[in-house]
C-alpha cells in the first residue's frame, strides 16, 4: 500500500480494495518503524488520524466517493493545526498548541484528507538543508549521511521514504523544489498568493507560498485543485480564477516553446547535473516541445537580493516572539528588557539569529537605501527579466540545484556556501512566478531534479509538462533501498 501514489490510493479506496483505516494503520506502523532513522516527523497524530480515517470510511460506506476522501497526508510544522503542536521546528514554539487551523490544512481536512502528523523542517523555514531544526536534522533516505534539502526537509523525507504519499510544504526561496529534487519527488511552488498564507507561520511574507511534495504531477494537481483560491483572511491572497489542473495534464506538448536561460547553465552547475538536464530536454523534444536559448541577465544577483529582503522580512516577523504572549520565556527575568533579550537568545537557533541580524542591518538607519531598497530594485529587474522572457516562451527549464545533496554537517559552518546553493530557486520567489521540480535522473545513487518555471498563474502548464514527461520516464517511480 505504501508504494501507491495519491491517485492510486484514491482509486483503490473507491474500489474498496482497502479501507482508509487499514491504510492509515499501515502507514502509522511504518512511521513508528522507520522514522527513528530519518527524523522526518516532529509530531505523529496517531489517534486523530485513526478518527479521521474512520470518519472517511463511514462517509464512503454511505455512498460518498470524493476523490480526496481518506487520502493520508502530513503537514510541514509551520501550518497551524488546532489542538496539535505547531513548532516551526523552533525551541520557542516547542510547547505551542495552535488555537486555529491554517486555511490550506482546513481545506484538505474538509475534502476528507487524513493528517498523519507534523513534519520536520529548518527552524522557521530558514535553511536549505533541514539541519537548523531544533529537533535535529532529517536524513535523506537515498543516503542517510546526506541532507534531504530544506526547508521542507521532513516533507520530502516522509514522502520519499513512503511513510506518507504526499505532504504540504512551503517555498520562500526554494524550500519545496530543492528538497523535492534531492529526494526524487515532484514539488510544486504555485504563484505567490495562489494558496492562502492564513495560518502559515510567516518567515518572509512577500515570498512565502504553500505548495506540495508528492510522487508525480498528477498528485500535485489533485492537491493544488483542492487548496488554490482566494481567501479573504489572507491580505495577499490572489483574486484569480483557479484552472482545471487535471484537465491540463493530458494535453500534448506539440507547439510548446521552452526557454533555456544561459545563466542556469553556468560554471556553477555540476556538469553531471547538466547532462541530466540535457537528457530531459531531448525527451521533451521527442514529445513535441521546442527549445529556445534565452537570457535572464539579472539572475546572478538574485541570491544577494533574496537574502537582504527575506532577512529584513524575517527580522520584522520574528519580532513577535517576545516571551510575552506565546513561545519560550526565560527564567526569572530581571526586567522587561532582560525578558526580551534572554527569551529570544535562548529560543532561536544560530541561523535564525543570523538572519534576524542581517535583516536588522539592512533595515537600520544609514543602510536602508544601500541594502533593502537596492535589493527591491534588483527584485524588479529580475521580475522584468521573466516577464520579458515569457513574451517569447511558454515555459522556462533548467536545473533545480547546482549540486547534489551534501553531507550532513559539511556546510553548517559556512552559511554563505549554503546560501549560494539557492541560486536556481530564489529567482522564481523574487518574481512570484510558479515553479516545479521533477525527478529527471540519478547520479551516484542520488536523485536529480529538473525545474520548470511558468508565467504567473500558469501552474497548469507546469503540471502538464511534468505529467507528459512522467508518462515516458520512470525517475519519479523509484524508491530508495530499504523503504
Amino acid at each position: 500500500m505504501h508504494q501507491l501514489t495519491l491517485t492510486d490510493i484514491s482509486k483503490a479506496l473507491a474500489a474498496k480494495q482497502f479501507s482508509a483505516r487499514e491504510l492509515t494503520t499501515h502507514l502509522l506502523a511504518r512511521i513508528e518503524q522507520l522514522d527513528p532513522q530519518l527524523n522526518s516527523f516532529i509530531t505523529v497524530s496517531k489517534e486523530s488520524a485513526l478518527q479521521q480515517a474512520d470518519a472517511a470510511d463511514e462517509l464512503r460506506s454511505s455512498g460518498i466517493n470524493a476523490p480526496l476522501l481518506g487520502l493520508p497526508i502530513a503537514h510541514k510544522d509551520l501550518f497551524c493545526t488546532e489542538g496539535v503542536r505547531t513548532s516551526c521546528a523552533s525551541k520557542t514554539l516547542d510547547n505551542f498548541i495552535a488555537p486555529y487551523t491554517a486555511t490550506v490544512v482546513d481545506k484538505l481536512n474538509k475534502v476528507g484528507c487524513i493528517s498523519l502528523g507534523k513534519l520536520n523542517m529548518d527552524e522557521f523555514a530558514m535553511g536549505s538543508s533541514g539541519e537548523t531544526s531544533f529537533y535535529g536534522p532529517s536524513k535523506n533516505p537515498w543516503d542517510t549521511q546526506r541532507i534531504p534539502g530544506g526547508s521542507s526537509s521532513g516533507s520530502a523525507v516522509a514522502v520519499a521514504a513512503r511513510l506518507v504519499p504526499a505532504s504540504t510544504g512551503s517555498d520562500s526561496g526554494g524550500s519545496i523544489r530543492q528538497p523535492a529534487a534531492f529526494t526524487g519527488l515532484t514539488g510544486i511552488k504555485p504563484t505567490y498568493g495562489r494558496i492562502s498564507r492564513w495560518g502559515m507561520t510567516a518567515y518572509a511574507s512577500s515570498f512565502d507560498q504553500a505548495g506540495f511534495l508528492a510522487h508525480n504531477a498528477e498528485d500535485c494537481a489533485m492537491l493544488l485543485q483542492a487548496t488554490a483560491g482566494f481567501d479573504e483572511r489572507d491580505s495577499t491572497s490572489a483574486q484569480q480564477q483557479v484552472d482545471d489542473y487535471a484537465a491540463a495534464l493530458s494535453l500534448p506538448l506539440q507547439g510548446l516553446r521552452i526557454g533555456l536561460p544561459k545563466e542556469y547553465f553556468s560554471s556553477d552547475l555540476d556538469s553531471r547535473i547538466g547532462d541530466v538536464v540535457n537528457n530531459s530536454i531531448e525527451q521533451l523534444k521527442q514529445l513535441g516541445a521546442t527549445f529556445v536559448d534565452i537570457s535572464l541577465p539579472s539572475l546572478p544577483h538574485a541570491v544577494s537580493a533574496y537574502y537582504v529582503i527575506a532577512s529584513a522580512e524575517a527580522s520584522t516577523n520574528l519580532a513577535r516572539f517576545d516571551g510575552v504572549r506565546f513561545g519560550h520565556r526565560c527564567e526569572n527575568p530581571q526586567n522587561l528588557e532582560d525578558l526580551y533579550l534572554r527569551s529570544r537568545d535562548e529560543a532561536f537557533g544560530k541561523e535564525v539569529k543570523r538572519r534576524i541580524m542581517i535583516g536588522t542591518y539592512a533595515l537600520s538607519t544609514g543602510y536602508y537605501d544601500a541594502y533593502y531598497l537596492k535589493a527591491q530594485k534588483i527584485r524588479r529587474l529580475i521580475k522584468n527579466d521573466f516577464v520579458s522572457a515569457f513574451k517569447d516562451v511558454d515555459l522556462i527549464l533548467g536545473p533545480t540545484t547546482p549540486n547534489l545533496p551534501w553531507l550532513i554537517g559539511s556546510k553548517i559552518d559556512d552559511p554563505v556556501a549554503a546560501y549560494l546553493e539557492d541560486i536556481y530557486t530564489v529567482p522564481a520567489n523574487l518574481a512570484g512566478i510558479p515553479g516545479l521540480s521533477m525527478p529527471a535522473g540519478m547520479i551516484d545513487g542520488l536523485p536529480v531534479g529538473v525545474q520548470l518555471l511558468a508565467p504567473y498563474f500558469q501552474e497548469a502548464r507546469l503540471l502538464q509538462v511534468a505529467h507528459q514527461f512522467q508518462q515516458h520516464t520512470d525517475w519519479h517511480a523509484r524508491t530508495p533501498a530499504g523503504f
Partner: protein, 95 residues
C-alpha cells in the same frame, strides 16, 4: 565596509538578542561573510528602477469596517507564559 564587534553588539541590541561574547565573535565573522556576498549587488545599475515590494504589485485590499472576529482571548492566553485576570504579565516596568 566590514562590521566591527561594536556594530554587531549594536545590531544584537536592536534585534533584542542577548548574545554572549562567544556569539558576538562568531556572528561578526559570519555576518561579514554574508554582507560580502550581498555587496556584489551594489555593482548593479538600478538608476530609475522603482523598488518592487509585492511580486504581484497588488494593493492592500480594504474591507468594510465591521467586526468579523469573535473573542478568543481565553484561547490565546492559554498559550501565554504568564497571565492573570485576562492580562499578560511582564516584569515591573514603572517603579
Amino acid at each position: 565596509m566590514a562590521l566591527e564587534r561594536c556594530d554587531v553588539e549594536k545590531l544584537a541590541h536592536l534585534a533584542r538578542l542577548g548574545l554572549d561574547d562567544a556569539q558576538i565573535n562568531s556572528s561578526t565573522a559570519s555576518l561579514n561573510a554574508a554582507i560580502n556576498m550581498i555587496n556584489a549587488m551594489q555593482a548593479v545599475n538600478t538608476d530609475g528602477i522603482t523598488p518592487l515590494a509585492n511580486p504581484l504589485e497588488a494593493n492592500q485590499r480594504l474591507r468594510p469596517d465591521t467586526v468579523t472576529e469573535s473573542n478568543h482571548r481565553d484561547d490565546y492566553q492559554a498559550l501565554a507564559p504568564a497571565v492573570e485576570n485576562g492580562l499578560y504579565l511582564v516584569p515591573k516596568v514603572i517603579d
